[in-house]
């Protein structure tokens, strides 16, 4: 082959290789452009979806804050309802000492009028006798006045917000007060309400550290539920049903147990695991917020205690509250209680 022929072959080889390289590069760049565009499209789609998700997140956050506001409003309503119940009980409680105060004041007034007459007639012996009667009456007025004062104090304790102040308190006394308050509260709502209340209080219970107004609220709430259950049952079955609520306290070295048992309608099996859930209620609309037992659960938990129950539908329900006897107890007040 001549040099010229070799040269022309070289040129052909070079041109073919050059075209191949150029095509390869073009192909690559074109492929890159297409794949970038496709990726960008996917990315834009993702961006749109992300924006939608962000919008939904914002919407959910708004809904959540609205729900929280509603929840706090409901908690407030529950507190107001419980306060209403208390007020009804307290009004009845306070009425008795006030009646005594009024009656003894009237009697004392009459006695003093008589005494003035006797003094005028110089009948000193009778006057002195009347004076001692007046003193007795004033003692009784003072006693009933004090009783009314203690009831008012109790009411103030119930109504004020819990600040986590632990006090040594007598559980039996707290139960006794709660029974009376719950009973009169229920009586003011249901005029024909009647129930036999049995109390079995252990006498060896020492005063334990609790927040009395909170534990009082728990006992009051459970008792009110117990009374309500007996009312519901008496509406359903014949007249030979005798409503009964038993409240029993027991003490051992670890703490105090309070048992509240009613022979009301019981708790159906299917809702047993829901009764401590917030906003769960079997009461008709407007009669309950569904927060009562949830708050009770939180309060007892914050005291380091336990709340549990046993129930058989149409037969009985028994709640057990256990409160530990700890002097170094630190109570963490749950948000919904305050």
């Amino acid at each position: 082959m001549t040099n010229r022929q070799i040269e022309s072959i070289d040129v052909i080889v070079f041109i073919v290789a050059g075209i191949l390289v150029i095509l390869l590069m073009f192909g690559f760049i074109l492929y890159f452009l297409i794949s970038y565009k496709s990726k960008k499209r996917d990315y834009n789609l993702l961006e749109i979806q992300k924006k939608e998700l962000d919008d939904q997140k914002k919407l959910l956050e708004n809904t959540l804050s609205e729900l929280r506001a509603t929840q706090s409003q409901l908690i407030h309503s529950e507190k107001m309802a419980s306060l209403g119940q208390l007020t009804a009980g307290i009004a009845h409680e306070i009425q008795n000492p006030l009646n005594f105060v009024n009656n003894f004041s009237d009697v004392s007034k009459e006695l003093l009028t008589e005494m003035r007459e006797d003094i005028k007639k110089n009948n000193i012996e009778d006057a002195l006798e009347l004076a001692s009667d007046v003193v007795n009456n004033l003692d009784k007025i003072y006693f009933h006045g004090k009783k009314a004062e203690s009831i008012v104090k109790g009411m103030l304790q119930h109504s004020r917000a819990a600040k986590g102040l632990l006090e040594k308190a007598d559980i039996n006394l707290l139960c006794d007060e709660s029974i009376r308050l719950a009973y009169h509260g229920m009586k003011s709502k249901f005029m024909d309400f009647n129930v036999e209340i049995t109390t079995i209080f252990a006498q060896n219970i020492p005063k334990i550290y609790i927040i009395p107004q909170d534990i009082g609220r728990v006992i009051l709430n459970i008792l009110s539920n117990a009374f309500y259950a007996t009312i519901q049952k008496s509406k359903k079955i014949s007249s030979d049903y005798k409503p009964n609520v038993t409240i029993k306290t027991l003490y051992d070295s670890s703490g105090v147990n309070v048992y509240i048992r009613d022979n009301g309608c019981g708790i159906p099996q299917e809702i047993k695991d829901k009764i401590f859930q917030p906003f769960f209620t079997t009461k008709i609309s407007g009669q309950g917020t569904g927060l009562g037992l949830s708050i009770c659960y939180d309060i007892i938990n914050s005291h380091g205690g336990r709340i549990s129950f046993e129930s058989k539908e149409r037969e009985f329900t028994e709640f057990n509250i256990f409160l530990p006897n700890k002097s170094n107890l630190v109570v963490k007040i749950p948000n919904n209680v305050v």
């Binding site: 040099n3 070799i6 040269e7 070289d10 040129v11 070079f14 041109i15 290789a17 050059g18 390289v21 150029i22 390869l24 590069m25 690559f28 760049i29 890159f32 452009l33 794949s35 970038y36 565009k37 990726k39 960008k40 990315y43």
Partner: protein
């Protein structure tokens, strides 16, 4: 205009100026002093590659890649020295180093493509200076490997047309560089407005 473009494009501008000055120098050596210009490229190639690495480092924008790029520059300088000492002395065109530089640049170009694809930052690639710059690098230096490879393989009587094509593509690449600078200028102005 120069102050209103991104830093990487400023370096592209510097590269264009350096290349232009180098070409003026070689013409001066050949035409006025009648000295062979081959020796100039023994110095120009490492300098050119160093500027390219700065441009790529700015575009790739990854710390670990900075180290790799510095290493590549050192590697190319060592190769150039060894090539000059043992294979292609100062009066011969340093095609071996040019081939290796081209391979490095093609690899860097591919890596920059990957980075562009990862980022999904650019709305329309055809309006981006970086895309045109990178494409022209890939295109020209891939062809450069072929040209200098062919030159080395067929050293005695290489086809002259390949030098003409190479010169044409080289000119095209520099024009594309200018175009990419212009595109970046437009982009920056748009962003500022």
């Amino acid at each position: 205009m120069f102050s209103k473009i991104e830093i990487a494009f400023k370096w592209i501008g510097i590269l264009l100026i350096v290349t232009f000055l180098n070409e003026l120098n070689t013409r001066f050596l050949v035409k006025s002093l009648s000295i062979q210009s081959n020796g100039v490229y023994h110095f120009f190639v490492p300098i050119e590659f160093s500027i390219y690495t700065i441009i790529f480092a700015t575009f790739i924008n990854l710390k670990r890649w900075n180290k790799i790029l510095i290493l590549l520059v050192f590697l190319l300088v060592i190769i150039e020295i060894l090539n000059t000492l043992f294979l292609q002395p100062i009066y011969v065109t340093n095609t071996n180093t040019m081939i290796i530089e081209s391979v490095f640049l093609v690899l860097l170009s591919l890596i920059l493509y990957i980075r562009i694809k990862e980022s999904t930052y650019y709305k329309n690639l055809l309006l981006e200076g970086v895309f045109w710059f990178n494409s022209s690098i890939l295109f020209y230096y891939a062809f450069n490997i072929l040209v200098w490879g062919f030159h080395n393989w067929d050293f005695i009587n290489p086809p002259l047309i390949m030098y003409d094509i190479n010169a044409f593509l080289c000119g095209l690449m520099y024009l594309t560089f200018l175009f990419s600078i212009y595109l970046n200028f437009i982009q920056v102005r748009k962003l500022k407005n």
